[in-house]
Symmetry: C2
Subunit: 302 residues, 2 copies
Amino acid sequence: MSDSVRIVEVGPRDGLQNEKTPVGAADRIALIKALLHAGLHTIEVGAFVSPKAIPQMVNSDHVLREVNHLAGGEFHVLVPNEKGYEAARAAGAKVIAVFASASEGFSRANINCSVAESIERFKPVIARAKADRIKVRGYISCVLGCPYEGEVKPQAVVDVAQALWDLGCYEVSLGDTIGVGTPSKARHLLRAVAGHVPMAHLAMHFHDTYGQALANLYAGMEEGARVIDSAAGGLGGCPFAPGATGNVATEDVVYMLEGMGIATGVDMARLLAATNEISLLIGRPPVSRVASALNAKGRAAK
Amino acid sequence: MSDSVRIVEVGPRDGLQNEKTPVGAADRIALIKALLHAGLHTIEVGAFVSPKAIPQMVNSDHVLREVNHLAGGEFHVLVPNEKGYEAARAAGAKVIAVFASASEGFSRANINCSVAESIERFKPVIARAKADRIKVRGYISCVLGCPYEGEVKPQAVVDVAQALWDLGCYEVSLGDTIGVGTPSKARHLLRAVAGHVPMAHLAMHFHDTYGQALANLYAGMEEGARVIDSAAGGLGGCPFAPGATGNVATEDVVYMLEGMGIATGVDMARLLAATNEISLLIGRPPVSRVASALNAKGRAAK
């Protein structure tokens, strides 16, 4: 298993969007630059959503404009609808992300429509993106469990993944939004979805709420998956379990991959510095094990 | 992978021994009873070591005497030498554990003798235990890395494991003492050692310092390993990185196994209660992801 893995850093968007403390655009820009400097080349930087609904993502147009020209980076922004698409395109977006749910209950609660309706809503967005030569990434949430419905059948995930793929998404990211997955379930799901969307075009987006994320990622890699979404410092929370951890931490992922002989190109010291900086801004220590251990080592060496 | 896994709960010994705040014998007895009540049947309860060197384990004879009669439990105590063996036998020990290191540097620093000398030191202990029909478990530390020497060759682990097995240990526990292992290394090591000691007699004792423990355990299970050492609440620290996490948390292990369809017999609510109780006593919140998430859920529900 010594081939390459692509990391999609989602801290500045999926991470910060789910943190209580809002971080201003200037600090988000600094974070994105620090992450790029640390060797993370694919970074989700903002969301074109209502600032009333999600104040954490205000001024995402400014953020995107400030980083979009940086060499070596591919910057993604989340787009929920045509209005968001307009704004993203105006700000120069080259890659957008759309999101659907594998669970009807979550879809209703989160975006106030059925799964089928949400896919209908993307159709014009994806069509316009195609015409504008903007790449589209598709997220599916609740792929391994739903806070409202509990178990989610792999077939429900397959159906949505197939729809997003058929519409033209270049990659489908499978989100264990509430972190309830375990290795054999993750593996089984990837096998099922890869029967319809090529494995090379699937990403694993696992939250670490119950500490299972790295084990699930390793299980997915055993199955052949090679794209991992993660957030520096484990940024992000779980809206259904306040105080619980969010996205799997990029540091922890990098530590695992490098230990397995898979070069990530990430400079751990720079990543740790970026993680510590953003953690200061949001007023809590990083939740990642690697950051905790390396920071403790650093203090002990003083 | 739906067969059974045996969990060896090491919180009351390996966990508490490495916590700064000492916990009195009465509270350790209460913890052991709570863990047994939660469904953990194999529990390491104390160490017959110098109370000057390790004050956390003082009165282990009293602890053992108070729990040894409890139905359904198998209680282990650590024994470093013949003097400790005498005391353990006098207190009624039925299972003792001895420890060696796979690394010369760690052996020198930790028990002030070479690896070969440490094995010589065990010989009379194991011989007497055999005569007294007391079972002996062998620990090997630093199997995936050493704080002094860095990389540890699998062959070094194989040699020590073979020696402990030949001397009559019924089980050899492979300790990633500083938690630096990653899944492919863990798997490779287990394969190497299982060439000399049957896999059914190998235990995985992985620390979670860098968040890798569950992934490593899953990788080891893929290789066929079926015994897991863990500590309630992730008790224990890493003496070489103060502030970093210690043993993999029993809650996190149980969550993974149950999610994979492997019944553990552990009642999560009771385990969580035991974890929260001991965490209060040592004055810090549990570090396990599962405890954090479930406690946050509990607070949110109030």
